[in-house]
């Protein structure tokens, strides 16, 4: 009889403990609840009650949104065509720093895809002067601002500091005509999409912030992209 009592007590305890464990697992260990501080549904407004006014408002916002999109009505009105005649006018460039890939694409399809190399994210400090550099590819939206054939690289100070060399006093000692390959497309602030002599390292984040592309792929991009083409880096 005493044995049966103990079995009952132990099994009841087991059931209670298992139940408690299930409850803890179900209602804890969940993700934290995060509220949107900057933007949320609460800021979205409704259409006006009057049908005609609502239709006009909808037309207005459609037009405004269309103007924002790459290749939208605002871009279409421009005189210069930023891509070659063989490419759609709404084509843009995307650089995926996460997978080290570069695309020529439109909203609906990828027209061209190639492997590239983007910034390491590494840092360099010049112990002599305290100057500091972060070798990252900038993220955001840009435009192709220049197209160069057979570009020469003007080595900045960090290139010498990184190699443990003295910064040259003669400007001519800064130029390197091999490093950037056959073509370069500038997108501002000294950043370029260019060729490389280290094609084996394509696909890895090894650059100082520029975007390196293999020579055949770079030629295709150079031939099909014009000044003013939108560039998105993420």
């Amino acid at each position: 009889m005493a044995m049966k009592k103990w079995i009952f007590i132990v099994s009841t305890c087991i059931v209670v403990l298992v139940g408690a464990a299930i409850m803890i697992i179900m209602f804890s260990f969940g993700p934290p609840e995060v509220e949107l501080r900057s933007f949320g549904d609460s800021v979205l407004t409704s259409l006006p009650a009057d049908d005609k006014a609502a239709q006009a408002e909808l037309r207005k916002i459609r037009k405004a949104y269309d103007a924002m999109r790459p290749g939208g009505s605002a871009q279409a009105g421009k005189k210069k065509r930023p891509s070659s005649p063989g490419m759609p006018p709404d084509m843009y460039i995307v650089i995926n720093t996460h997978a080290n890939e570069i695309y020529l694409r439109t909203e609906d399809s990828v027209l061209f895809k190639a492997t590239c190399s983007t910034g390491t994210g590494g840092e360099l400090v010049d112990t002599a002067t305290g100057r500091h550099w972060v070798f990252d590819t900038p993220r955001g939206s840009f435009k192709i601002s220049s197209k160069l054939k057979e570009p020469w690289w003007r080595k900045p100070d960090w290139a010498f500091i990184e190699e443990g060399e003295d910064i040259p006093k003669q400007e001519a000692e800064r130029y390197d005509k091999e490093m950037m390959g056959d073509y370069a497309l500038g997108f501002g602030d000294g950043f370029f999409i260019h060729g490389t002599i280290y094609e084996r390292l394509l696909g890895i984040n090894v650059t100082h912030g520029c975007v390196r592309v293999g020579s055949a792929d770079l030629q295709h991009i150079f031939d099909n992209v014009g000044i003013g083409t939108k560039l998105y880096i993420f």
């Binding site: 993700p31 933007f39 405004a64 590494g122 998105y232």
Partner: protein, 232 residues
């Protein structure tokens, strides 16, 4: 003979006349159908317009920021990353196993009866991953460019989840031989989700190519905004 000729000419003429009238009749029927179609199109669908208006407002606000945002386009069955309204990454949103029912559950839970279209990502959880770059190559590269090898290391996720809170989960798997990051946590997460699924938690399971999985895993972070485009 001439009479037969006249008769046949008049017969042919009347046949042609009938044909012309017939075609004209068809054309007027077409016109009628067209005008009815236009009337139907002109019928003002307020709820659809409200949804489109809210979506466009949300897109425009998100596009004005310089951050990437995630779009769950359940209308076109696509998962997209956008930057300033430009699609920078896109992948089909075909669920791996349980079919479109999961997508419908996810959609209604996302909106939570209030028509919500925007939610922040609250957590990204990596179950298992493999290393993309072999250590030998990594050592050479990190030596050559004088960079910490950790900065060059890129995990290829074998499985990870993007959590939106309130039981909304994107479960992503890639065809990668991965090693578990934390076996205990993984088991607790799986157990919790299996139990909570019976309470209505919604999970969409997706299978991606390793490169696509790397992109999504690295681009999506807690705090990123997700926008839902619900199916009609």
């Amino acid at each position: 003979m001439l009479r037969y000729g006249v008769l046949s000419v008049s017969l042919i003429g009347s046949l042609v006349g009938l044909l012309v009238v017939g075609c004209g009749g068809n054309r007027s029927a077409e016109n009628e159908a067209q005008s009815t179609g236009e009337e139907i199109r002109q019928v003002w669908d307020r709820s659809a317009a409200e949804l489109e208006y809210r979506l466009l407002q949300a897109e425009m606000s998100l596009a004005k920021s310089d951050s990437v945002y995630l779009v769950l386009d359940l209308k076109a069955n696509r998962l997209q990353l956008k930057l300033e309204s430009a699609v920078v990454w896109s992948h089909g949103l075909e669920p791996a196993s349980d079919g479109m029912e999961d997508v419908a559950d996810f959609c209604s839970r996302f909106q939570s009866g209030e028509g919500r279209l925007v939610r922040p990502i609250v957590e990204k959880y990596l179950f298992e991953a493999s290393n993309k770059t072999p250590d030998s190559l990594l050592a050479i590269v990190s030596g050559a460019v004088a960079v910490n090898p950790e900065l060059l290391q890129r995990h290829v996720p074998g499985r990870f989840q993007v959590l939106f809170g309130e039981g909304l989960i994107l479960d992503i798997r890639a065809d990668v031989q991965g090693t578990p990051v934390d076996k205990f946590q993984n088991t607790v997460k799986d157990l919790r989700q299996a139990l909570r699924r019976s309470l209505g938690d919604a999970i969409i399971s997706l299978k991606l190519e390793p490169d696509e999985a790397v992109t999504l895993f690295r681009a999506v972070n807690p705090g990123m905004v997700a926008l839902l485009n619900p199916p009609r």
